[in-house]
């Protein structure tokens, strides 16, 4: 029997370009699972992405997809969703695409609370360009442009999404596939901006540069360092240092941008 996910994928594009052991395979699988369970009208789903490893994901889905410029996927997605609110818009992005070059678009897409679901693959590093330090690289971890260890403070993308006004915010890792499927489903169903961060293993760069023996060891490290938000609430800052807090951070109802535009049009339209 054919693998369930294949009906969502462009079979003629396989095999994919991702490195052996990359976490993106798990994330594609979880996304297909979520789509399967939601029974979406696939002709009405549009994927967008920017530049980077994670941004190559939409090219493998047998859906309408727009692989855009670095950091700008959410601005393109805003145009798509506003132009045709019937579409389900899902954006694949990464820690560099969202946290660095696309930071401004990220903040304002959250603020508008536009009905887009973001799946952000956070692998702590720039994979596509060869292992450079990213805005989420943990302190002291090594990257090709941080050969002596990272001296910058990492950015918490989920806290930013929450502060900027997103309706739904969650973080999981590739070691939490069931929770991830549940969050992707929730995110797609959410009327508003849903930000789902997935901490993922990049063995090729992050793993090798930081002396992990193999990708399994790196995935184990991610799993063992994860702490659920409910448990983390009672822990001190000291205890949480270097930990990955996972769970749902935000789940709230707010007005949604593309719907507000339509309300405005209904009020001011002079053409029948």
């Amino acid at each position: 029997m054919e693998h369930f996910a294949l009906k969502y994928l462009r079979k003629d594009r396989l095999p994919h370009i991702f490195c052996p052991g990359c976490g993106i395979g798990i994330i594609i699988n979880c996304t297909c699972k979520a789509m399967d369970e939601l029974n979406l009208d696939l002709d009405k789903v549009v994927l967008t992405s920017g530049i980077g490893c994670s941004s190559r994901i939409p090219g493998y889905f047998y859906l309408d997809s727009l692989h855009t410029t670095h950091g700008r996927a959410l601005a393109f997605a805003t145009g798509i969703k506003v132009a045709n609110p019937e579409l389900t818009v899902i954006c694949f992005t990464g820690d560099g695409d969202t946290g660095a070059i696309g930071g401004n678009h990220f903040i304002h897409a959250c603020r508008r609370n536009i009905d887009i679901t973001v799946i952000c693959v956070n692998n702590y590093i720039y994979g596509m360009t060869g292992g450079q330090v990213s805005p989420t690289t943990p302190e002291e971890k090594v990257a090709t442009t941080a050969p002596y260890g990272n001296i910058e403070n990492p950015l918490d993308l989920c806290k930013l999404a929450e502060a900027a006004g997103a309706s739904y915010v969650a973080r999981w890792t590739t070691a939490h596939p069931f929770q991830l499927v549940r969050s992707i489903k929730k995110g797609i169903n959410k009327k508003g901006f849903a930000f789902i961060e997935v901490v993922s293993q990049c063995y090729t760069y992050f793993g090798r540069l930081n002396k992990f023996k193999n990708n399994i060891e790196l995935l184990k490290y991610i799993k063992e360092n994860s702490i659920n938000i409910n448990k983390a609430k009672n822990m001190s800052e000291e205890e949480l240092k270097g930990k990955i807090i996972v769970g749902e951070f935000v789940d709230r109802e707010k007005s949604e941008f593309s719907e507000e535009i339509h309300k405005l049009i209904d009020k001011h339209k002079i053409v029948k």
Binding site: D64, H67, G79, V82, I270, K272
Partner: protein, 383 residues
């Protein structure tokens, strides 16, 4: 309100500002999406669109910057709407990467640049034509765009409609290279019966492969949400839309040559110019575009009153550059004078296209003031 049943200004005579005329032209053209970011001296276009688009069921979004503005326009165009943005120098610089993206993905869109003095922040409230080369060459790689240049408020209205028609027909970003003077000037605009105004819409659909062109080298556009399930990427792609061409020299060359050729092959249909006295211009021809054309036209009349065989050609479409038209002019005259509100941009194209058949002189002017007819006349006398 003075609107017809389609939400357009009713045919008639109006007194309006250039930037407003651009917005009203866009409404007539069928624009349904505006993504922008405020910048002097273009902001009135955004303000007017924010006011007017809801009237016709169109959507206005003020984005977080000009990069996002053009990105949203491209997204909306793929979702099926005629889309535009307007900006000025600094914003135009920020848009350059996504202009290349629109070229590569063959996305119809209109970009209005109400030019101001540069470089950098420069002169926000004063006019220039300093972005003419940037319009053609500002993004990386080999590509073609179409650029129009209005010299009056009437032309702001008409050329915006034309810009949408070109964008939709050729699936290419089209630029309306206005300037602060035309943008902020108030003049009479005559809107004739809409039956006489041609409106072109993109070919929606898909051949066997999404980027396989028709005989005119332009593919049908498989817009999103219609079941075409197309992958669109800024990477070099094959006719399937797949990025295999990114590492394939033959596929890449095939794509990029077609993107250029689809404009160049149709250049004669795209070119548009206004000429006078070209059958009697053996002494001099003023070649201009945009605002300086106003002084150029007067200068020609005054030169002719002095029995000088002077002609006049105003380039309404500057890109693709009308080489053959300038070459024909160069054959007929001894001298060409090019007044520009910059230190010399389009004059180099004129020199190149005239192939040494006549002398070419630039009348540069920067600082924000228009040329006077006298300055152009003096340039001829001191040639």
């Amino acid at each position: 309100m003075n609107f017809d049943d389609k939400g357009r200004l009713k045919p008639g005579k109006y007194f309006m500002q250039g930037n407003i005329a651009i917005a009203e032209g866009a409404i007539v053209a069928g624009c349904k999406f505006y993504g922008g970011y405020p910048i002097t001296p273009s902001s009135e276009v955004a303000e007017r669109m924010a006011l007017r688009l809801p009237h016709i069921g169109g959507k206005f979004v003020q984005m977080e910057d000009e990069i996002g503005a053009l990105a949203s326009v491209i997204g909306a165009s793929w979702a099926g709407l005629k889309s535009m943005t307007a900006t000025s120098g600094p914003g135009f610089s920020l848009m350059q990467e996504n202009i290349g993206y629109a070229v590569m993905t063959e996305t119809p869109c209109v970009i209005v640049n109400v030019q101001r003095g540069g470089p950098s922040t420069g002169q926000p409230t004063l006019a220039s034509q300093g972005d003419m080369m940037q319009a053609k060459w500002g993004s990386h790689g080999d590509y073609q765009i179409i650029a129009l240049s209005p010299s009056s408020v009437q032309e702001c209205f008409e050329y915006t409609i034309k810009a949408f028609n070109y964008a939709e027909k050729y699936r290419v970003p089209v630029m309306v290279m206005s300037d602060e003077v035309v943008g902020h000037m108030r003049e009479k605009v005559i809107i004739s019966d809409y039956d006489n105004i041609e409106i072109i819409n993109r070919k929606v659909g898909m051949n066997e492969l999404p980027f396989k062109p028709d005989d005119d080298l332009i593919p049908k556009m498989p817009i999103f949400g219609k079941g075409y399930r197309v992958h669109v990427t800024g990477l070099s792609h094959n006719e399937k839309g797949y990025p295999d061409a990114a590492s394939d020299p033959v596929e890449h060359a095939k794509l990029v040559k077609r993107l250029n050729e689809k404009i160049l092959r149709h250049k004669k249909e795209i070119w548009d110019y206004t000429a006078e006295y070209l059958d009697d211009c053996s002494d001099v021809v003023i070649v201009s575009y945009g605002s300086p054309s106003r002084a150029g036209e007067i200068a020609v009349k005054e030169l002719r009153e002095q029995d000088i065989a002077a002609g006049y050609i105003k380039l309404n479409v500057v890109w693709p550059f009308p080489d053959e038209i300038i070459y024909e002019v160069a054959k007929k005259t001894e001298k060409i004078i090019v007044p520009e509100m910059n230190l010399g941009q389009i004059v180099r194209e004129v020199e190149r296209a005239s192939k040494g058949l006549c002398k070419v002189k630039l009348v540069p002017k920067i600082g924000g003031e228009l040329h006077t007819p006298e300055e152009i006349i003096m340039a001829y006398k001191n040639f």
